[in-house]
Symmetry: C2
Subunit: 381 residues, 2 copies
């Protein structure tokens, strides 16, 4: 293991009926900006539960944080928070609402800095306290210190880091009404989050190898069960819990990380509007294929321990593992090829150009440049 410092201060409040805890989790003397997405929380009963729990609190609402939250929208929310002099921000919704809220919390704390400047520096030095009621398991944002923000003007999408949520409430029952495509995208997100932290150099941590494998195995196991019955509490709880554990910094302690698939995927979202989870399903098999030598030991270990791939030569087994990963994404109903989304070589070239221009070196071996990204994407046409 490499040296590391780990601290995750988020209070995780998990289970049936836990939204009511808002009443005591937030002090009565705090003025709260409550942020929402497009309105699905009004249809699934979450909004009513939040209103009931906060009926004695001083709250202001901000609606309309979109998927892949745009800085253009978030600047408006920051203005509301500053005008209303709120003390904290509560996100109610999925990872996009919370990611946006993390930037709102930073923008309110640093009123003299433009929000996109905060994102581009990569780190929010100051944020007012923020928390969440998380209704869509996927990003892990509810228990981590990262956020990904888009800029419509420049067609860019970047991540920044800052504080952890003070608390996050997760009630698996809020997932009963999620659209099937959102669940599919979120399962791909969970699995690829783990791959980014696990499918790297082998032999770094016996415990964390098994923990990453455990989260991936869970996501793969519950996927067909969710398709069969989206109202099974235990299954939806395992699903929701696995999303949080996939990206709360637990499985990355002291190990190298990849993240090149996410970086390439962010470009597909920024340039072509591909949903985040689907972008990962398209890109990941290409990343594994192009970097198969570098990742071979881990691909084989994953194949043996999680997929039961034990027959054949090493190369044949790696082929089987990559094919099974793609088959899993397909089983979710997701596109796994660029052509399925109408994306061609021109976009591939634009991404390669951007990466080369930025001089990036992504991945655990810092070898994913624009040219390697092109190679990965050309395998996914």
């Amino acid at each position: 293991m490499f040296n590391f410092v780990f601290q995750n201060t988020t209070k995780l409040v998990f289970g049936r009926g836990q939204i009511a805890q808002l009443q005591t989790l937030i002090e009565k003397n705090k003025k709260v900006l409550v942020t929402f997405g497009g309105g699905s929380v009004k249809r699934n009963g979450v909004y009513e539960q939040v209103r009931e729990a906060l009926k004695d609190h001083n709250t202001v609402e901000f609606w309309g944080i979109e998927p892949n939250p745009a800085v253009e929208t978030l600047r408006k929310a920051i203005k509301v928070g500053l005008d209303e002099q709120v003390d904290m921000v509560l996100a109610v919704g999925g990872g996009s609402v919370l990611d946006g809220t993390k930037l709102i919390a930073a923008g309110i704390a640093c009123p003299d800095t433009d929000a996109w400047t905060i994102v581009k520096t990569g780190t929010a030095t100051k944020q007012i306290p923020f928390a969440s009621v998380m209704t869509l398991p996927a990003t892990g944002s509810e228990m981590n210190n990262g956020a990904v923000i888009s800029c419509h003007e420049t067609k860019e999408k970047f991540a920044f880091r800052g504080d952890y949520p003070v608390f996050s409430i997760l009630d698996p029952e809020t997932t009963y009404s999620l659209p099937k495509h959102q669940i599919a995208c979120s399962l791909a997100d969970i699995v690829v989050h783990c791959f980014e932290q696990y499918m790297t150099t082998s032999g770094q941590s016996r415990v964390l190898d098994r923990w990453a494998e455990g989260v991936i195995a869970t996501a793969m196991e519950v996927a067909p069960l969710i398709q069969a019955d989206q109202h099974n509490y235990d299954v939806m709880a395992d699903y929701m819990f696995s999303a949080t554990m996939a990206l709360n910094n637990f499985i990355r302690m002291g190990v190298t990380q990849d993240w090149s698939t996410h970086q390439i995927g962010h470009e597909l979202t920024a340039l072509c509007g591909v949903t985040h989870g689907e972008s990962l399903a398209i890109v990941y098999p290409g990343t594994a294929e192009v970097l198969r030598e570098q990742k071979k030991a881990k691909l084989l270990q994953f194949g043996e321990r999680v997929l039961g791939v034990c027959e054949g030569s090493e190369d044949e087994r790696v082929d089987q593992v990559i094919a099974k990963i793609e088959a899993f994404f397909k089983s979710l109903g997701l596109a796994t090829r660029l052509s399925e989304k109408g994306i061609g070589v021109d976009v591939v070239e634009e991404i390669a150009r951007r990466f080369n221009e930025r001089g990036v070196h992504f991945g655990e071996a810092k070898n994913v440049t624009g040219d390697v990204a092109r190679e990965i994407l050309m395998k996914r046409l």
Copy 2:
């Protein structure tokens, strides 16, 4: 999963040379009571590293916290802390030093309450900040909010809960010089900590089942590697990390817990001075045997996933699993029978009497009474 609230605020500072971080982890204006055990840290270089890092801090030292820390000793340390008006306590040593330090931190914060009274209430309502340099991986105390304290006067041993350490520094190199018996006991402790949280009702959490299995598999895998070479950094890092992950509340989120083996083991320590880890190695096979029906699904799952036990009827497989668990403890060089420690029926009867007198109902099914404890121990004569 059951509803749960999880929050673990400890900053974990892990790796080679990290003791030097003390210099910045503790503010210069804080007066620190530094607590130690019997002096092994003077022989392995840890003491010098701590002194060097804290050379510009105002510190007071307290030496002599024994294994199974006794309230009689800790009262003296509390008096030193109060007389010297310290702001925080830093434990340097193993789990016993840190457990004792947790009570010292509580005693200093509550000077009007006797320390044993704090233990017996089960919860410390107030503690001054405390932290650790952990040199013996075993108890998980470095990243949890519990502590176990003994009372020589009454020959009792009880746990209490309170705050988490502010930070804990773990440098795997500090384990290079640990006596082989201490490592053996700590490996048993790690494995049984996981059993207490895992070998219960089945089907509660797919992720946490796999995480507990992952920690146990790691401990079992590194055990012979440590015996072969105690200076392999990666192996000792996996060992040290597994101890922390076994008992930092991660693998117990939303699942039932047992802890009856620990309760029975504490009595063997309190009455006969059996080392904690060895007491668990003696008791656990009895707990698994007596409660084999209740724990059957988990014993089978553990057998299949971790021990490769797949042949035979369910009962035969359970027999194999329990035999393999005992064989693992034996491979560490630990006693697994009471008679090996010269303990007979009289002690068994005293433990049964105490449990019946206290009216305890331990275990995930709340069915481990004094009579069941007797049954467990009679299988371990």
